[in-house]
């Protein structure tokens, strides 16, 4: 089993693991952000370049560094590989550049976008992006398209991660939606605006990292942070029926699949659950959905604190502080080397 070192943390992983997967096995702050990679979708990844890492030693046999940052979602680990993510300042600079590229054509209409508050690009830009843009030209714009009557496509916001295309490919049969054209004119489209009529087409909304594909039944209903997310389930013949209800009072505003800490859907849900059951009576509510404390959705939601978990979290953060120290030591050594 190959041993890989990511940000000075060593881990042994099975053959054929990618750097991103190995980093996720470690968890915490060493995990590179990913906008297009989706662990549940085959052949996803490799488009957005946000998950780039620096490989300072390719393997034990060939200790030379890789010449440029590599996409961690598509690079397999080798024995003795040394990877740097947050410990490398130039890598963070490069990632900032990637974020700037992703934002070049993004309209930044977060105040009217329904994805705001749970948007991967928003989080990424907040963590890595710059407040200023250096781009002086007009941003590309598209007309809004209705994919069926339940899904709205704002192509203007799309970052071309291809996740929705993979969903259409792998989850549904008889795909009628894909990417047309090439380069900076490429766009997600249903061929001559054919409706995607499939039981699982709604999952496109959940996999979309930005607000390009949004739920038409939730359009402008409420901002996510005004809603109260609840875990719920129902007996469904098509899917597991395990969902999150986004509620306001006794009203169900939106139904979505449950997402893990990497904002990836745990279990796909069918359109029947997603769009057709907007009554509280249809669902067995399990309880409040846990939201991350640094998420805007947790605003004004009060919860009982599990002291045991809090202790674990504090320990993790202490560990994280330790990691920062390593980073400082590293950069210091690097400066001295340059001298």
């Amino acid at each position: 089993m190959p041993k890989v070192t990511i940000d000075n943390i060593e881990i042994e992983v099975p053959e054929g693991t990618t750097i991103l997967q190995a980093a996720r096995m470690i968890g915490g702050d060493v995990v590179p952000p990913a906008m297009c990679y989706y662990s549940n979708l085959k052949t996803s990844g490799g488009y957005c370049r946000t998950c780039i890492v620096k490989v300072s030693q390719a393997s034990a046999k060939d200790p030379r560094p890789m010449p440029k940052p590599v996409a961690s979602c598509r690079t397999f680990v080798q024995d003795g590989m040394v990877v740097q993510n947050t410990t490398s300042p130039e890598l963070l600079e490069a990632r900032k550049g990637v974020v700037e590229f992703l934002l070049i054509n993004h309209p930044l209409d977060c105040p009217i976008c329904d994805q705001a508050g749970e948007c991967d690009l928003q989080n990424l830009a907040y963590e890595h992006g710059a407040a200023k843009t250096r781009y002086d030209f007009e941003r590309r714009t598209f007309e809004k398209i209705d994919i069926g009557n339940k899904i709205k496509l704002h192509m203007t916001r799309c970052i071309l991660c291809y996740r929705c295309v993979k969903v259409a490919d792998q989850l549904t049969d008889g795909r009628v939606h894909g990417v047309m054209n090439r380069g900076d004119v490429s766009e997600i489209s249903t061929y001559i605006q054919n409706a995607v009529e499939n039981d699982f087409s709604g999952n496109m909304i959940d996999v979309c990292p930005v607000g390009a594909l949004t739920d038409n039944t939730f359009r402008f209903k409420s901002r996510v942070w005004f809603t109260n997310p609840l875990d719920a389930h129902r007996a469904c013949t098509k899917c597991t029926g395990k969902v999150v209800l986004w509620t306001k009072g006794n009203e169900v505003l939106r139904v979505s699949a449950r997402k893990d800490k990497y904002a990836e859907v745990e279990e796909w849900i069918c359109n029947d659950c997603r769009f057709e059951h907007k009554n509280m009576e249809d669902w067995n509510v399990e309880g409040a959905r846990k939201t991350a404390h640094d998420s805007v959705i947790s605003q004004n939601h009060y919860e009982n604190i599990d002291l045991q978990k809090l202790k674990l979290e504090i320990n993790r953060q202490i560990k994280h502080q330790g990691g920062k120290k390593i980073k400082e030591v590293y950069t210091q050594a690097q400066i001295e080397n340059k001298k």
């Binding site: 930044l108 977060c110 105040p111 407040a131 942070w225 004004n300």
Partner: protein, 189 residues
């Protein structure tokens, strides 16, 4: 344990006959009252007389319109989430065809309410607003006999047209005006 030396020992001795009359004490009190007749009053007769207030005074809110008279607010909810008193609530709606002159963007606030009894006039809503829609002004929220009267809807908050506009130029500092000129910040485009 004695913490300060300001404490006074209360004497419980019997009052004398003169003290029991209370007459000298009453005269003394009236003397103080009389002295104040010849002093400059510290109060003003509001609303006939108004005190000078600073340009950055934080009073009643206004929802601004843009140059063409369309409402700037897009109901993004950032003011409500920034509000420490949870005084702001809103409901969004989608702009229909033909309403372009009324609302600036495709989403607008159909209902926008500020509970003035809850509001602490901290100005965080103004700071959070990405659309320069909400401003606190130098107006004072008038009193009311009903609690309902303090819930200000769009009828009271949205500024009027033409001569009824609310001037908020004083509220924008030099630094803010300088910042707004830089078109490389996406929200200034």
């Amino acid at each position: 344990m004695q913490l300060t030396n300001r404490s006074k020992v209360v004497s419980k001795k019997e009052m004398t006959f003169a003290e029991k009359l209370y007459f000298p004490a009453i005269l003394g009190g009236m003397g103080i009252t009389l002295k104040h007749f010849f002093k400059k009053p510290v109060t003003v007769s509001y609303p006939e007389v108004k005190r000078d207030i600073a340009g950055v005074f934080r009073g009643q809110h206004t929802l601004k319109r843009d140059e063409k008279g369309a409402e700037r607010c897009t109901a993004c909810g950032l003011c409500a989430v920034a509000c420490p008193a949870e005084a702001i609530t809103m409901t969004a709606a989608e702009r229909k065809k033909g309403e372009e002159s009324l609302y600036r963007e495709e989403k607008y606030a159909a209902v926008y309410e500020i509970n003035m009894l809850r509001c602490i006039f901290c100005g965080l809503c103004e700071e959070a607003c990405p659309k320069e829609a909400i401003f606190l002004t130098d107006r004072i929220v008038p009193s009311n006999f009903e609690r309902d009267g303090f819930i200000y809807g769009k009828d009271k908050l949205v500024e009027g047209m033409n001569e009824n506009r609310v001037d908020v130029t004083k509220r924008q500092t030099e630094e803010v005006n300088e910042f707004k000129k830089d078109k490389h910040y996406a929200h200034n485009k």
